[in-house]
Symmetry: C2
């Protein structure tokens, strides 16, 4: 057996979620509860009747790659050849690491708190990696200075996520500019930035999130239709970047799974025919966010500003400042509410708890009430 | 960049196929030309209307895993937990190598001629590997003795493919029994066998092909709906084996792409509801095979017995005994027929040419005529 696998810890998120009982309120899951538009599926089924269901080229349908690249819209990297169609954004992350990193000498720097697939993928590939924390005392505000300070001599890639899971923060344009300028000023080979933008359409800031790819030519952007269109099960994502890296990523993609589902690609063609289709769910989430924020404030709960995605990081009472797992267990056992301990997203998440607010309104309201109750009893 | 990628040669199959011009006869492609049954797609689209399209568990829908494991039918390994749903059989091969092999010390032995993804996946993962050739003089007949003789002290996995691409041969039950007995008699840790059975339903022998998995507990079986049901674009396959290895494979699968398309899994549930659905195309291929065999004999072409899959290995005239690429180029340039040089499948394929006989009947007839013409002129 591959001994590396033993060293990769199982997901805390899944471990705690597995303890949920029927009737418990679920604020743990990171998946939209909205229903997707079924019309692209009708269109794709009609397509199968006409064309069958052959393989596409390894990198995907050329027209889909063109639509994706145009949608992501990176300067000088907006042509079909700048995009590879992947099995969700998860595979895009894997391909970027596998293709762009030389495990024998390169190091990857991961901005946390974050989705722990980033360090686990590095571990799977034998890639040396370190984490750099955003400041909990500052509500996990994205900070270019913290990232630039953490660069080492062998760092060849930074992994960041905006809008962020679990913090809900969005990297401000000014911080991204500072990051790009800092990287440009650095001697030696360029440091790539792998930007996970899977929550790109779910933002509540006045302006849409800026991509580091707009400011830094050595950026790779991962995305998918999973969150914007409630299509996690479509497994349709992308990696966009410079042609050389996308070609190398496509070579890996060809070997590990040949190509993404042709059916999923045809569904994506329908959706990407009009970029408005990707923002259709934003108003729903904005409304939900306003409710959640109101309830949190009414109960005096401290939380990081929610600028994007569909999560909220709540600060735990002092009693659990070093035991977010204990807090999540108490909440589940005593109050029957599932939430995710902050430590599941990296060391700086300790002392916090992530709520996912995709649940129904009543469940959310009651869930937040019960959290406040627990905190009041134990705070 | 990952320096390993530079060492992986581009596909000869694709390189020659890229030179095809409009109007050329295509006997190169390895993909069914039949149309798939559209009804499972209607059912899956109705399913999306009711359920949306959430993620499944990483290993796939439990009921689908159960149906796959029952269909593959390995003794003591026929439960849901013995199967992981993959992105086609290609990902199943990748997962088996990635999960089961310790690249620091294990060696993989690959039976050729074969689909060259096997050695390329080993190269991608830094896994030491060797090839063992079946005998061209014996029509590439599968031989347990050849495989057993080639085992080395570090060999921990044998990769074989039955029915075989490109040879069309099927491993006889007696040879598989000899292989299993030989492996059982060997001291030291057991040698796994990764059996690629993607052409399992396309056989023209009196009895269905036997799986090494029926005879050897350390077998891993890869398969998919791509060839049996003309659904290459569904990207729906599986790896079946012992629970420990399947769990490890699922851990890799979770990290590299989360799960297979839920839509594709629902389509597969429909198809696997009745195993008869997987053999629906066999009669079509059997009829086509009879025609092809008749034309080959009529033109005096020498070819390996076609026992399965939809390929035929034709022996080249002496002039091209060491230059199958030259023969394929001459055929394409002078006679406008695309076929694949045998060397694209390993050293023992040199001096042969692979025809894929999924094309329309007229194209096949004319293509074989032109091959005979070329051979007569140059033989």
């Amino acid at each position: 057996m591959n001994p590396v696998l033993d060293g990769i810890a199982p997901s805390i998120i899944r471990a705690i979620a597995a303890r949920k009982r029927p009737g418990d309120i679920d604020l743990g899951m990171g998946e939209p509860t909205l229903r997707p538009d079924p019309r692209p599926f009708d269109a794709a089924t009609a397509w199968v009747r006409t064309h069958g269901l052959p393989y596409t080229a390894n990198a995907g349908l050329t027209e889909l790659r063109a639509r994706i690249a145009a949608y992501v819209g990176l300067p000088d990297r907006a042509a079909a050849e700048n995009a590879v169609v992947t099995i969700g954004s998860e595979e895009a992350l894997y391909l970027a690491l596998k293709a762009a990193i030389d495990a024998a000498r390169d190091e990857v720097l991961i901005v946390e708190p974050c989705y722990l697939a980033y360090p686990k993928l590095c571990a799977l590939e034998g890639i040396r990696h370190r984490m750099v924390a955003m400041d909990p005392a500052d509500g996990f505000r994205p900070s270019a200075a913290r990232v630039l300070d953490a660069l080492g001599p062998d760092t060849r890639m930074i992994v960041l996520n905006t809008p962020n899971n679990p913090t809900g923060r969005v990297w401000p344009a000014a911080e991204l500019r500072m990051l790009a300028d800092g990287l440009a000023a650095r001697p030696g080979p360029p440091v790539r930035v792998l930007s996970d933008e899977v929550y790109r359409e779910l933002y509540y800031t006045p302006e849409p999130p800026v991509s580091i790819g707009a400011l830094w030519p050595h950026a790779l952007v991962a995305g998918s239709l999973s969150k914007s269109n409630a299509l996690t099960g479509l497994r349709l994502g992308w990696l966009v970047g410079d042609v050389k890296t996308i070609s190398a990523a496509t070579k890996v993609h060809q070997l590990v799974n040949t190509a993404a589902s042709t059916f999923s690609q045809v569904v994506a063609m329908e959706i990407l025919a009009d970029a408005e289709n990707l923002s259709a769910h934003r108003a729903h989430y904005a409304g939900r966010r306003a409710l959640v924020g109101g309830w949190m404030r009414a109960h005096g709960l401290e939380y990081a500003p929610i600028e994007g995605a569909f999560y909220c990081m709540v600060r735990l009472p002092e009693r659990w400042a070093a035991d977010s797992l204990g807090a999540a267990e108490a909440l589940l056992e005593r109050h029957r509410v599932l939430a995710t301990p902050g430590v599941a997203f990296g060391p700086s998440g300790e002392g916090w708890m992530r709520l996912s607010w995709v649940a129904e309104v009543d469940a959310l309201r009651v869930g937040i009430e019960r959290i406040a109750e627990l905190f009041a009893a134990e705070g």
